[in-house]
């Protein structure tokens, strides 16, 4: 079964420092990988995707993610964290057959950026 895992419940980083939120995947075939963000009391918002192509994917709000096939990882990164980046981050991948697909999500990682 297609799945993703987020090994860290929480990541703490100081404002201005680089941040990394980790995700590993277990996918048969070509991986389709995604990152979403949830701000307090809000629904989820799409950040970025990897389907094919460059291993470094750029997304919204200055975030990027690095796809690493040998390590089966898709870590979310940002060169300089902002306090406003504090939120819940979810990694996801497709599950199911063409025409009947849904996203399956990781358990989430809470990012706290301290001023």
């Amino acid at each position: 079964a297609q799945s993703v895992a987020q090994p860290e419940d929480q990541v703490n980083v100081a404002e201005g420092n680089p941040l990394t939120v980790k995700c590993t995947y277990s996918v048969s075939g070509n991986p389709y990988l995604f990152w979403y963000v949830q701000y307090p009391n809000r629904g989820l918002q799409f950040l970025l995707k990897y389907i094919t192509g460059d291993n470094l994917v750029k997304g919204s709000y200055g975030f990027e993610a690095e796809f690493n096939k040998s390590q089966t990882s898709f870590h979310l990164k940002k060169p300089s964290a902002l306090v406003s980046d504090s939120a819940l981050y979810f990694c996801a991948t497709w599950r199911g057959d063409t025409g009947r697909r849904a996203l399956t999500f990781g358990s989430g990682t809470r990012l706290q950026v301290q001023p």
Partner: protein, 114 residues
């Protein structure tokens, strides 16, 4: 602007009550989804629908049913609410086989079952 609207942000119900959670999207999307969000468990798929009157079970369908009579509306039904169904419920929609992987989410319905 794309919009997914969930009818109630907060609900409090009693054990055994029948509960309806409504979701409407205005983007003419084929696919609609219901997820449940619990701390430490992430989002878990309850049911999804890829067409009107069509539905497919997700990972945790037990205790839930769904209805999709019109393309824009997808309802989640708890036939007899139980305390372990206290949770945040998120509805989402997407075009069929969206290549971007982008689901559009509502703001969620927080259900408390007493």
């Amino acid at each position: 602007d794309v919009k997914v609207t969930q009818s109630s942000r907060y609900l409090v119900k009693r054990t055994g009550e029948k509960v309806f959670l409504e979701c409407v999207q205005d983007m003419d999307h084929e696919n609609m989804f219901w997820y449940r969000q619990d701390p430490g468990l992430g989002l878990r798929l309850i049911y999804f629908s890829y067409d009107v009157k069509m539905k497919e079970k997700g990972d945790i369908p037990e205790g839930y049913s769904v209805s999709r009579e019109k393309k824009e509306r997808f309802s989640l039904i708890l036939e007899s609410a139980s305390t372990n169904q206290t949770s945040m419920y998120l509805c989402a929609s997407s075009p069929v086989d969206s290549q971007t992987g982008e689901l559009f989410f509502g703001e969620g319905s927080r259900l408390t079952v007493l």
